[in-house]
Structure formats: structure tokens, C-alpha cells
């Protein structure tokens, strides 16, 4: 965790998304896919808290050495302000934060599933997986064509890609989960990584759990600090031994969690939650929990 005033190298539009490139060698050097940064907002505004953003790219070598790239949507006041920052402005950045996506020990076929801006961290992940001689396939989902994030780059980084849009303006009409089973069998996926709206993650995790496919999800929860001190960002996660559950901090123990261990029903507050006790352990077994396919986080 490093705090730096980082110069803005460039600020671009990518369809409906904005991308920001920051000069941040210390952070880029140690950043890993799935981690995020906290960006301070300007003083004198009525909103005060830092905004968290996944690391879309971290270039350690080559022309862009020592830079971080973020991708985001201008929605509320914070992100809208961020769309307006200019090259040579300086941003107060803290990162890298959180636990990265773990890489599989032996398994090789990786399917990356991204929804909306949630796809952002998957490109960084794909590169790292390729560098480890893993097979990478991708599914990119979005509401419509304009929201499909960097499909060209996705194609470049993966053996095959599937695209879904809710309005059918690009790829298949529907949701990523509609084409997930087909992609899994076609690509022989052994491991699934997902990032996007929590509802999507839940569906992907459920499918994987039911089919015994190890699945890592990068979730979002409201964060006041991003540093591990405020406990606002928790997600209910079932213990590895199934003995119970804990509210874990997205900013420290996450944002990447084992999809089979997140207690989705409780977290996303289905009125239909029947009980306060976690779902029985079988899912965890199938998901290979206990003998997990990746090394535990240090």
C-alpha cells in the first residue's frame, strides 16, 4: 500500500467509458490483477471520500513503464469529476489495495467473464495468465454495444471471446450466463474469473459452484476508507472449513473472493433468505474448497 501524488499522463474516452493513465511507478511495480486504487477527490467539495477503481493496466516494462491505467464510467459526482481531470493534473492515489486474483497451480484453461466496466481488470489478468502459459478465453457482457468494453483488445488477449448485450446490439442478446455453459464446454474451462455487477457475479458463481468449477469473483461494496479501518465494505463469506461465516472486508480480504464461499443470499439481501445460517457445505466441496486449486493468499 503506497500513497503518491500521481501525474495524469492521459485522459481518454473509450466508448461510454473513460480511461485515465497515471504515472505511478511504485504502484505499477507491485500491482497485480484484481487489486484497486483509492483516488482522493478535490478539497472544498461536499463529497469527501476517496473513490475506488480497479487497476485496468499496470505497465512495468516497455514504453509506458511505470504507469497505471484505470477505466470508469462518469456516473455520480466523483466519477464525473474524474472524467474532467486533465493531463499534468496530479491525483492523490493510494494503492495497490486488496487481494489480487490468484493464479491456478496446475489447471490451465481460464475463462474470464466481465460485465460493464467490470471487465476492466480482466485485461490485466489475461496478460498475466498468458505470460504463465495459461489458455485464456473471455466473455464480455454489457447493456448495449457502446458498453461492451474494449472487445478488440479482448480478442487480442484470448483464444476466443463471447459477447452478450441485453439489447442484442452486439453479440448474443442476453446475459453472460446465457452463453457461459456453452463457452465453458467449448473452451474446456477449468477455472473461471469474473468481475462485474454483483448480481452477475452471483449467477456466474452459482453456475460454477453447481458444476464444480473453481471461480474467483472481484466484488464491489461501498467503501469509506479502502484501507481496512472502517469496516463498511464487508461481504459475508463462508469459512473454508464450512464451520460458519464471517463478514470480510472487500478492501483487505477482497475484492477477490472464492465465488463458492460468498454467501450471496445474505449479502445481496434476497427477501427470500430463509435462515440466518450459511448454506450447507456441499457446494464448497464441489468447488474444491479445502483442497483449493490455487495457493492461499499470503
Amino acid at each position: 500500500m503506497i500513497r503518491k501524488k500521481c501525474e495524469v499522463l492521459s485522459s481518454r474516452r473509450a466508448g461510454v467509458y473513460h480511461t485515465l493513465t497515471l504515472v505511478a511507478p511504485e504502484i505499477a511495480e507491485v500491482a497485480r490483477p484484481g487489486q484497486f486504487v483509492q483516488i482522493a477527490v478535490p478539497e472544498g467539495r461536499e463529497f469527501l471520500l476517496r473513490r475506488p477503481f480497479s487497476i485496468h493496466e499496470a505497465s512495468r516494462r516497455g514504453g509506458w513503464a511505470g504507469t497505471l491505467e484505470l477505466a470508469f464510467l462518469g456516473t455520480g459526482p466523483g466519477t464525473t469529476w474524474l472524467t474532467q481531470v486533465q493531463p499534468h493534473d496530479f491525483l492523490d492515489v493510494i494503492g495497490p489495495l486488496g487481494k489480487p486474483f490468484p493464479y491456478p497451480r496446475q489447471l490451465t484453461n481460464c475463462l474470464l467473464v466481465g460485465g460493464g466496466y467490470g471487465a476492466a481488470p480482466l485485461y490485466f489478468l489475461a496478460k498475466e495468465l498468458n505470460a504463465r502459459q495459461k489458455r485464456v478465453d473471455m466473455i464480455i457482457g454489457a447493456r448495449d454495444q457502446d458498453r461492451v468494453f474494449k472487445q478488440v483488445e479482448a480478442k487480442r488477449l484470448s483464444v476466443s471471446i463471447g459477447i452478450t448485450t441485453e439489447d442484442g446490439s452486439l453479440g448474443d442478446r442476453g446475459r453472460v450466463t446465457d452463453i457461459l455453459p456453452g463457452m465453458v464446454s467449448r473452451t474446456g474451462a477449468e477455472v473461471v474469473y469474473a468481475c462485474g455487477p454483483n448480481a452477475m457475479l452471483r449467477a456466474v458463481a452459482a453456475y460454477c459452484a453447481d458444476h464444480g468449477i473453481p471461480c474467483q469473483v472481484a466484488v464491489e461494496e461501498l467503501m469509506a476508507c479502502g484501507l481496512g479501518v472502517c469496516w463498511t465494505c464487508t461481504v459475508p463469506v463462508i469459512r473454508r472449513d464450512g464451520s460458519g461465516w464471517d463478514n470480510l472486508r472487500t478492501c483487505v480480504e477482497g475484492p477477490v473472493f472464492n465465488g463458492a464461499r460468498v454467501w450471496w443470499e445474505k449479502w445481496l439481501r434476497e427477501p427470500s433468505v430463509p435462515t440466518q445460517t450459511p448454506p450447507h457445505g456441499f457446494r464448497m466441496e464441489e468447488a474444491g474448497v479445502g483442497g483449493e486449486p490455487w495457493p492461499e493468499h499470503e
Binding site: I2, A40, L222, A224, C225, C230, W231, T232, C233, T234
Partner: protein
């Protein structure tokens, strides 16, 4: 030269702090989490997240909402319980080298006492802060600090049985905060911590749902500073001999000095640490610079120095409108 004569140290009736600026409970962890971005050796002290007897899982998310110049939180005192807390944080507290005030919470007098007994022998812990402004489920919709007698009961029991000085942490959501503070002091409180968050609420106008899993939550941040300064002023005027730790919306040295002038002996920075994790250090340094500029020697020289002319004086009444 001038600088040489200035010392930031303060003495809270025996509790010595290297600077008058603490990290506030629940916003600073145990300090350990912030070490990578903060020089802990430069803080005045650390008030830990409130700890209860048994582990508490806390409230469902969302646990926070941003509001104009502030935020709401509804954590529900999530913590691992005193035993695991001491196991996990004890060694750090022992070694951190700055005073640690351990914040304790509970649903009953009994629970407060038990936590206090376990907490008091940890080297490095210089005082306890009794967070009596947290939900008291034994009397619904009430917190100990809302009732002078209930507050006194808890604080008195802890103070009697613990060898450490006890600060009573109060809520501003009361009709007469002086009455509560006075009751705590009579019961044996060494000092008073003001203020905890204000009970508040936000509603999502699209979903019609409360924006907090806990429905209501606590308002903190710059928005509440004027309420906090008022509370400190009232209590300090009534109890000039009692050490007060002032907090509520502090993000700059100037903010902190307002609290000192109002009568605080030290201050704590809470929410501001979220966007500037170095706030506690920055505020301390800024107070030092202000002392130098004013030719003062110690933060104590600012204490309760607010100038109120006689005609103006008298107990503050509500002047709105």
C-alpha cells in the same frame, strides 16, 4: 528557536500524550492497518475500534452513505471479541510506542466490566474509552449515554474495577449533555470523549429503501463539527477540571484549535483519516505551527481560551432564528 520552546505534549490528568491529536475509535483500526501510509510515531495516540466481550458480526451492508460534507455509518460494532482482539493486536499495541486508548463496548454493565478487566493489563494501553453511545439492546432505542443514570452505572462499574483511567464517550443526541457528562464524572470517569456520531438516516428515492442495512446510522464528518464544538464548549464550561477529548468533523489544525479553544484537552480525528490517512499527523503538525506563530508553548495554552464577554455569557440557549 521559537519552535524549540514549543512542546506538543499534553497531560490529560495523568494520561500523557506526545501530541494532542488521536486517531478516533473505529476510524483508525488499531493503527496497524495505516502504518504503510502513516508515520505512527508522530501520532498523539490511538483509540482502538470498540471491542466487545464476544465476537460481533455487525450489520448487513450497505454500511455507509455519503452525505453533504459527511457520511453515515452503520457497522454495528463488528469486532472479533476482546480475546481474539488482544491475541491479534496485543503484540502490536505493546510495540507501537504511542499511547493506546482501548475502546470498549457492551450491551450490559456486566459485559463492559468483563471487557475492561481483560483489556486493562495490556502493556501500551494507557486508558479505556467506554463507548456508551452504541446500541443498547436491553433497552430498545436507547443508548447508555442517553440517560445520566444508565451512563453512570456503566462508567462507575468500569472505573471502580479497572486500574486504568476511563473516558466516557458521549453522544450529542441528548437534551442535556452536561448532565450526562457530570453523572459520568461523579461515577468515576477520568475524562469525557465528545462526540460520537449523530443518529441519522438516508433513504434511496429510487428503491424507497433505507440506504443503510441498519436502517439508521451515525452521521460524522465536517458537517457535524459545529455541533461537536458546541458540546465540548458546554461540557468544558461546566466541568473545567475534567479532561475532554474533543472530536467531530476535524480535518485541519484550524478545526482542532476550535475544539481546544472551546475547552478540549486533546482531540481525535475520525472520518478525515479515510480520505487523508495522515490527517492525525498533519493536524498535530499544524497545531505546532500555530503555537509557534502565536508565541505559545503548549496546546494547553489554547485550552478553553475562547473569549466570551460577560453580557454574552450564560448557558448557551438555542439561538436558531
Amino acid at each position: 528557536m521559537a519552535r524549540a520552546r514549543v512542546s506538543l505534549g499534553v497531560d490529560l490528568g495523568g494520561v500523557q500524550l506526545p501530541t494532542p491529536v488521536l486517531g478516533a475509535s473505529g476510524t483508525f483500526g488499531s493503527g496497524r492497518e495505516l502504518a504503510p501510509v502513516l508515520d505512527l510515531s508522530k501520532v498523539g495516540g490511538i483509540v482502538t475500534k470498540s471491542v466487545t466481550l464476544r465476537p460481533v458480526k455487525g450489520l448487513p451492508t450497505p454500511r455507509m452513505v455519503e452525505t453533504p460534507s459527511g457520511m453515515l455509518n452503520a457497522i454495528g460494532l463488528q469486532n472479533p471479541g476482546i480475546d481474539e482482539f488482544l491475541e491479534k493486536e496485543g503484540p502490536f499495541i505493546r510495540g507501537v510506542g504511542v499511547p493506546v486508548i482501548l475502546s470498549i463496548a457492551g450491551k450490559s454493565v456486566e459485559e463492559f466490566v468483563q471487557v475492561a478487566m481483560r483489556a486493562q493489563h495490556v502493556p501500551g494501553v494507557v486508558a479505556l474509552e467506554a463507548n456508551i453511545s452504541c446500541p443498547n439492546v436491553e433497552r430498545r432505542n436507547q443508548v447508555f449515554a442517553c440517560h445520566p443514570d444508565a451512563a453512570a452505572e456503566v462508567v462507575g462499574a468500569v472505573a471502580r474495577l479497572s486500574r486504568l483511567p476511563v473516558f466516557a464517550k458521549l453522544t450529542p443526541d441528548v437534551t442535556d449533555i452536561v448532565e450526562v457528562a457530570d453523572a459520568c464524572v461523579r461515577a468515576g470517569a477520568h475524562g469525557i470523549s465528545l462526540i460520537n456520531t449523530l443518529l441519522a438516516m438516508a433513504i434511496d428515492v429510487e428503491t424507497f429503501r433505507p440506504r443503510l442495512g441498519g436502517v439508521t446510522g451515525g452521521l460524522s464528518g465536517p458537517a457535524i463539527r459545529p455541533v461537536a464544538v458546541r458540546a465540548v464548549y458546554q461540557v468544558a464550561r461546566a466541568l473545567p477540571e475534567v479532561p475532554i477529548i474533543g472530536m467531530g468533523g476535524i480535518r485541519s489544525a484550524r478545526d482542532a484549535v476550535e475544539f481546544l479553544l472551546a475547552g478540549a484537552w486533546a482531540v481525535a480525528v475520525g472520518t478525515a483519516s479515510f480520505w487523508n490517512p495522515e490527517s492525525v499527523v498533519d493536524v498535530g503538525r499544524g497545531i505546532g505551527e500555530l503555537l509557534v506563530r502565536r508565541g505559545l508553548r503548549s496546546p494547553a495554552d489554547l485550552r478553553a481560551r475562547v473569549v466570551v464577554e460577560e453580557e454574552e455569557a450564560g448557558e448557551p440557549a438555542h439561538r436558531g432564528g
